[in-house]
């Protein structure tokens, strides 16, 4: 999120986030407007190291909302359950932007807060700006990336901003000069009633992969056209020949579970910025291609010459991947391409 707030009165920004998300959002608010008065509502009690960091995060105040009885078991707390407490406190606070992380929990929190406050919501804003008349305008992605929408409003609004996706909507890393003007503040802890209507019975981690696709210089992407594990092995071999990271489309990860979910590219996954992207059996729906816009060169391998990706690539190799992928891996090796 970026902002341009030249010669505007000091803005009030309420950051509402889980302990580990706070610092990044405060940096975001302050980079948008260095003079903003940032107030934090932290959903849940931070561990000692995070608490220490929060005292110097640049906010003017940090209120920690701690769960009242019944205290949830460790790991079964939900940030969503603080919505009524947050809404109550915000209703009595100076109006301003309410900034929430664009995560699954954040989306719910943002929409519920906006409803309780009777105000607008800008979900996953990529920029927010003050208007000369005191109103606001923002931009966000529409049609899964096929378009950008400009919005305006007056008064209060809840804004969620995308975290960790790369690109203009991304949050800067928490250490990007967050120790703003305010100096250290004391954390104030308030015990609040939670919304206990939705109860967590268990939480399990999905298979994760510490891969950072956004840093890869070459990416080979597996689409649903890769139909068997033998075919997948061919594509993996091409990735090895190219020294590329293996990525996939959403259904390959979410439906087939062939690759960890961290490896899918698109509006709800990763954005990549490689020199070379090779899409194998990828149709090229906009929900996917929005994540490969910044690729310098896009290659498509597809049996269907009219697939959408063929119209959005630099080089379209038409044919069966089972035939073309091994040939390409061989040619890349024969050419002695540095990986």
């Amino acid at each position: 999120m970026t902002a341009d707030t030249t010669a505007m009165p000091t803005d009030v920004v309420h950051v509402v986030a889980e302990p580990h998300e706070v610092a990044g959002l405060v940096v975001l608010a302050l980079s948008a407007d260095p003079t903003a008065a940032v107030h934090v509502m932290c959903l849940g009690v931070p561990d000692p190291a995070t608490a220490q960091a929060l005292t110097g995060c640049g906010a003017m105040s940090v209120v920690v909302l701690a769960a009242g009885a019944p205290v949830p078991s460790p790991g079964l707390d939900r940030p969503e359950d603080y919505v009524p407490a947050v809404a109550e406190r915000l209703a009595g606070a100076t109006p301003g932007l309410v900034l929430v992380p664009a995560t699954v929990s954040g989306w719910e929190i943002a929409a519920r807060l906006a409803t309780r406050l009777g105000c607008g919501l800008v979900s996953e804003a990529t920029s927010v700006r003050r208007l000369p008349d005191g109103g606001w305008c923002a931009e966000r992605t529409l049609y899964a990336g096929a378009a950008v929408q400009g919005l305006e409003w007056h008064g209060r609004a809840v804004v969620s901003a995308a975290a960790g996706r790369g690109g203009p909507g991304a949050l800067p890393p928490p250490d990007a000069g967050g120790a703003g003007s305010g100096g250290p503040v004391a954390l104030e802890t308030v015990v609040v009633d939670r919304d206990t209507r939705v109860r967590v019975t268990s939480r399990t981690s999905r298979e994760r992969d510490a891969v950072d696709l956004s840093a890869a210089s070459r990416v080979v992407c597996v689409g649903m056209g890769v139909q068997t594990l033998d075919d997948l092995a061919l594509v993996e071999d091409l990735a090895r020949a190219l020294g590329a990271e293996l990525a996939c489309t959403r259904p390959v990860a979410e439906d087939r579970g062939w690759l960890p979910v961290d490896r899918y590219i698109g509006i709800s996954g990763a954005s990549v910025h490689p020199d070379l992207y090779v899409g194998v059996g990828v149709s090229g729906q906009v929900q996917h291609t929005v994540g490969i816009r910044d690729a310098r060169t896009v290659v498509a391998i597809n049996t269907d010459a009219s697939a959408a990706l063929m119209g959005q690539c630099d080089h379209g190799l038409v044919g069966d991947l089972r035939e073309l992928v091994p040939l390409l891996a061989g040619a890349v090796r024969a050419a002695g391409v540095p990986s």
Binding site: A147, L276, M310
Partner: protein, 259 residues
């Protein structure tokens, strides 16, 4: 009879938008319209749930006169009844207005034990209306659901929350937003399409819902929609032997410095 309601949005197909070559303004007039993708998964999840519960499945949308055309499709997908809350101003409605209109119609239906929504709409993908409807109704909401079951008066669901799968339960009535992974949405067969013609599709004027003017006043205004056009060279290698096509690709990539 208890009711299950699925809220859906009627949207232009995002791959059929036209862009003005100069202003890049988006023109939806030649696009086909469709029931938003994840809402189809929601309808199928609702169909399964309603059958288990002996409930009536109502497919509910808020839209301008054009959205009437959606009713055939949602009825063919398994809704027992389709209700379209009509507003000429729906095109400029935001999540606040939409949620108030949908929630008011849910109240008007009565006996609703669950409201299902897609996790995000194909056009705005704001993840907004489901949780907003829940708040307006004063019901709990369970978002981003990939597994769903109801036992007695209790809903059990598995949410995808970042890297975690979160199993939750809550009491009915509740609002649930679903991911595509909750289950595939089959294309209706001919029999279902014919049967849809005999099912009721109703139009309700938004003014008949007794909403306060404030509930129908948008909080945000869309000022512009600008399209994105990919600038790529689009060289198709579709002729010659496979090995020749591959060789042509490798030399092109080497020439441009991509390899």
């Amino acid at each position: 009879m208890p009711r299950a309601v699925v809220c859906y949005k009627w949207v232009p197909a995002e791959n059929e938008l036209r862009l003005d070559p100069v202003t890049r303004a988006v023109d939806t007039s030649s696009a086909r319209w469709k029931v938003s993708d994840y809402d189809r998964n929601a309808i199928e999840a609702g169909r399964v749930l309603a059958a288990e519960r002996g409930a009536e499945l109502v497919a509910l949308t808020f839209g301008d006169a054009g959205a009437k055309a959606s009713q055939k499709d949602v009825l063919a997908r398994g809704a027992d009844r389709a209700v379209h809350v009509v507003s000429a101003a729906a095109g400029s409605a935001d999540g606040h207005v939409t949620a108030h209109a949908l929630a008011a119609q849910v109240r008007a239906l009565g006996d609703v034990e669950v409201v299902l929504c897609g996790e995000g709409a194909a056009d705005t993908y704001a993840h907004e209306v489901g949780p907003r409807v829940a708040e307006v109704l004063g019901w709990p909401v369970v978002t981003n659901v990939r597994e769903l079951a109801v036992q007695g008066e209790r809903l059990h669901a598995v949410r995808v929350v970042g890297g975690d799968l979160e199993a939750v339960e809550c009491d009915l009535p509740a609002v649930v937003t679903v991911l595509a992974e909750v289950g595939p949405a089959p294309i209706p067969g001919l029999k279902a399409v014919i049967a849809a013609g005999r099912k009721p599709g109703e139009q309700v004027a938004v003014d008949a819902l007794g909403l306060a003017p404030d509930a129908l006043a948008p909080r945000t205004v869309v000022t512009r929609v600008t399209g994105y056009a990919a600038e790529r060279s689009r060289v198709l290698l579709d002729a010659g032997e496979p090995a020749e096509r591959v060789a042509a690709l490798v030399s092109a990539l080497t020439e441009t410095g991509a390899l």
